[in-house]
Each structure stands twice: as C-alpha cells, then as structure tokens.
C-alpha cells in the first residue's frame, strides 16, 4: 500500500501516547545539541568520561530510543495487524523510563554524587521489560509474519540484552565485580544497542516505509533476509565470545558477518531507491538517504576497527560514536520525523474530515524551506565536527556544534508548527 494512511488504522494506539514519546524525544534532541555546544571542550580524548557518557545517554535513551518506542507503538500494530496489548502499560512505561533517564544522565554528569548507578538502571530495565512484554504480547496475535515483523522481534531481543548489559555495567560502577575489562563490556553494550536494537529497527521499518514513501516497486527482498541472518549470527557470536580471553579470530569472523549483513542491507536499500517511481526526494527522504550513506561510512569505519588498535588513536572512538549517533541515526530520525509526525497529526485531526471539507497535504504542515536549512546546517555541522575531531581544533568543534544546535532549533520549531497545525 502506498497511501500514507496505511500506517494508521483501527489498530493504532491512542494518539496521546505516541505524541508523548515524540515530544520527549524532540526535547531530548535539542537538549543533547545544547549540551554538546556548551561542553565542547570536554568532548575530546577517550570516550569513557562523565560528560560524554551523560550526553551519549541523553542521545541514545532520551532521543533515539524514545523516538523508536513512540514509532513502534504506532507501527507494530498496523504493520502486523494486531492491537497493542496494553495502552496503559505504554503510558506507565513512559514515566518509569523518564525517571530512569533523568537519574542516569544526572549520575553520569555528577559522577561522584551519592546517587547510585544501579537505581536508575533498574528503572530503565523495568521500563524496557514492560515495553518488550507489551510488544511481544501484541506479537503473539500476529497471523501473518512479514520481514519487518521479524526484524522488529530481533530488535526487541537485542534491546533487552542491551538493557541487561547496561544494568550489569551500572552495578559494576557502584560495586566493581566484573573480572574482565569494564570497557570490554561497554563495547558489547554499545554494539548490541546500535546494531542489534537501533539498526535492526531501522532496517525492518525501512522495508515498509521506504516503498510507501517512494512508491518503489518490482524488487525482491532476498538481501534483506540474508542481512537479518548474518547480523543476528554475528551479534550472538560476539555476545558469546566476549566472555573468553584471546578471541580475536572469532571476533573477526562474527564482526565480518555483521559487516556483510550491513552492506547487504545497504545494497537492498539502494535497489529499492533505484526502483522508486517517485523520483524527486522530499525533505524527509533527503535526510534519510544522507543518513544511510552515513551508515555506510560508519560501517566501514567499524569494520576497520577489527584490524587495528583503535582505542588509543586520539578521538577515533569519538568520531565513530559521533558518526553513528549524530550522522547516521539522528539524521535518519529527523528525516523520518518530517514524514511521520505530520502524518500522525494529520490522521488525528483531518482523517475524519476527508470528503467533508478540504484537508491539507502533509507537506503543507511545516515550512519546507526551513526544513531544507535544517538539513544543510545539520550536514555542515556533522562535517565540521568530524574535521574538528580529526584536527583537534577546539574552535572548529565549537563551530560544528553551533551549527548542529541551530539545526536542532529549526527542527523543533518545524515540529512545533506541525503539532499546532
């Protein structure tokens, strides 16, 4: 189906729940960019630093995962044709999750404060388990599984693993007990989060939304199936092998499987874009296409890490993290928000008026010129920041973060305009 109405049907969860998650995510996005800007001097050197960890968790939990939760409450029921198991649990989860994020971000920022790491991590785990239970309970009613559903089910599994790994790391920070290097576990936590959770969701959802938005037609999804198998195989392997010493060879095998999986996904998406009928890319799809190119760069960089000691190269892990969080995921989310949020509001306000009175087109619900500036500033900010990390010129980093902050303000203004339309 291609009429955008397809993503909201009788299966849709209450509008206010999805909106709550999206508003919190947009707020986190602006806050994240603001914190980068005012702390640019601290974003340097090794990644295991209080402020970097704090900002990273605003990004991953407050912005990225918050957006995905909202999007999944909306998409899972309609894509898999089931009702959400419980809207009440989705509501309850939001507040527990918010409490957990606030606590964890605060504790990372004030590393030596008396608050424990474990307590906010327990709140976050509780919220994530509620989410996983809610979605899995909904999925048990699915009659016909499609590739998107299988990707989303995998992603939820990896989300739970990420949360448990995060909790174990939090306990370890309060009461050290992990025998091997804390950073090894951190690497596992981050890889599972970005590849298993976020990227699996991105992949699964893109097979549904990109054809819908571009009217892509006449392609097979074979590569998507291979990508699913390879990435799950690679992640399971890394989770298993990480607990043993001297495993470089196995890491290489599993890492390569993930790398090939991601490349196959990118080829699949390229084919879908090539087969599109709507040739002109709108603003949301321009963001998305750029984000997927950034995923390509991040994948190549991540693959190269299998072959040399990258941890001690100045700023290289920071560049990798920045590429994944800002260049790839944030750009993609901002682009998809320009598609999904107007539709959500449109469906809520105007769907019942179709045929009765004139209803607006989705693209008329925000200022498209401003959105173009949003894209330009974000891209300029990303490129400037990466060069600043490489050259270690602080002033350049300040400029990069200033561009990103400005771009986030434009984005939030456009989102406000959509909500008010």
């Amino acid at each position: 189906m291609n009429l955008t109405t397809s993503i909201a049907t009788a299966y849709s969860p209450p509008f206010r729940i999805v909106v709550k998650y999206f508003v919190a995510a947009i707020f986190s996005f602006v806050l994240l960019n603001f914190m980068l800007l005012i702390n640019y001097q601290d974003i340097n050197g090794h990644h295991f630093q209080p402020k970097i960890l704090s900002i990273t968790h605003i990004a991953t939990l407050g912005f990225i995962t918050m957006t995905i939760f909202g999007a999944m409450f909306q998409l899972v029921p309609v894509v898999l044709e089931v009702k959400l198991f419980s809207a009440l649990l989705a509501e309850l989860q939001f507040w527990i999750y918010l409490l957990g994020i606030t606590g964890l971000v605060f504790k990372f920022w004030y590393f030596s404060s008396s608050l424990s790491f474990t307590l906010p991590a327990i709140f976050l785990n509780l919220a994530i388990f509620i989410f996983a239970f809610n979605i899995i309970a909904s999925m048990t009613k699915v009659k016909i599984w499609n590739i998107t559903g299988i990707y989303l089910a995998s992603a939820i599994f990896w989300l739970v693993i990420t949360a448990i790994a995060g909790l174990l790391l939090a306990i370890n920070l309060d009461h050290p007990y992990i025998k091997i290097d804390h950073l090894q576990y951190l690497k596992l936590h981050a890889n599972v989060a970005f590849i298993g959770w976020v990227t699996m969701v991105v992949m699964g959802v893109s097979f549904k939304l990109i054809p819908m938005f571009t009217l892509s037609h006449g392609y097979k999804l074979e590569l998507a199936k291979w990508a699913l198998g390879l990435i799950n195989f690679g992640l399971l392997g890394i989770n298993w092998i990480m607990h043993y010493p001297d495993t470089e060879f196995y890491i290489l095998i599993f890492g390569t499987a993930i790398f090939i999986g991601l490349i196959l996904y990118l080829i699949q998406i390229y084919i879908m874009f090539k087969k599109r009928i709507r040739k002109k890319l709108d603003i949301g799809l321009k963001f998305s296409a750029i984000a997927l190119v950034m995923l390509g760069f991040s994948t190549l960089l991540g693959f190269s890490f299998l072959f040399f000691e990258y941890e001690y190269k100045p700023n290289l892990t920071l560049i990798y993290g920045f590429m994944i969080i800002v260049a790839y995921i944030s750009t993609l989310i901002v682009g998809q928000m320009y598609k999904i949020v107007p539709f959500l509001i449109w469906y809520h306000k105007y769907s019942s008026k179709v045929g009765i009175e004139n209803v607006p087109m989705l693209k008329d619900m925000f200022n498209e010129n401003l959105a173009e500036y949003n894209l330009f500033l974000m891209l300029a900010g990303i490129i400037t920041s990466v060069f600043a990390f490489l050259s270690q010129i602080n002033l350049l980093l300040l400029s990069g973060f200033a561009l990103l902050f400005l771009s986030s303000i434009i984005f939030s203004f456009n989102m406000y305009k959509i909500f008010r339309s």
Binding site: L3, T9, F343, K363
Partner: protein, 102 residues
C-alpha cells in the same frame, strides 16, 4: 447533492476527491479503482492498494465509503479491496505519471 441518474463516470469523479495526503494524487489517477458497478440498491466499488498485505484497508475503504455515501445517501455503498490483479505503476494515469516525474 442527490443524484437521480447515477453513472459510473459520476462515481469516478466523486472518487477523484479521495487524495493521498502525502503524494497529492487521487486514487483514480493512481489507478487504484478497478471497477464501479451501480444497481438500484447499491454501489459496489472494487479497488486495490499499491502494495499487497497493506494494513490500511480500514482507513481507505472508510474514506471511499463515506465520500460516496455522503453524495449518494440513498444507496448502500460497498467497497471491495482486492489484490488481484496486482497494482503496477503502469495503471496510473498520464497525469499522475507526469506529477511523479515519470
């Protein structure tokens, strides 16, 4: 408007007001409407969507039904969603193709 003599063309024209809010093209020009049959009691509209397995039946059929029922209140309007024959881009009108830059 209440139509006394209803023709297929009139129904098609009514359906042209159902516009995809994102693409900005109506369902007739998109080639989604396969058939319209009119009897004394009912109007039956057979249509598809561009991708099989689409979960949107609810919304789109509601819109079509509402819009036709509002215009012709004295007939029962039935909307049948079918997946055969499958929609292909060549089912779009020249106008729609032009709008999409094909």
């Amino acid at each position: 408007m209440i139509l006394k003599e209803i023709t297929k063309e009139q129904i098609i024209d009514i359906l042209r007001t159902v516009i995809d809010p994102e693409i900005g093209i109506n369902i007739v020009d998109l080639g989604l409407v396969y058939d319209v049959s009119i009897s004394e009691q009912s109007i039956d509209i057979t249509m598809t969507l561009t991708t099989p397995g689409c979960p949107m039946h609810g919304s789109i059929t509601d819109w079509v039904q509402r819009i036709v029922s509002l215009t012709i209140p004295d007939r029962t309007v039935n909307v049948n969603l079918v997946w055969e024959p499958m929609w292909t881009p060549d089912k779009m009108s020249d106008e729609a193709k032009k709008q999409l830059g094909i």
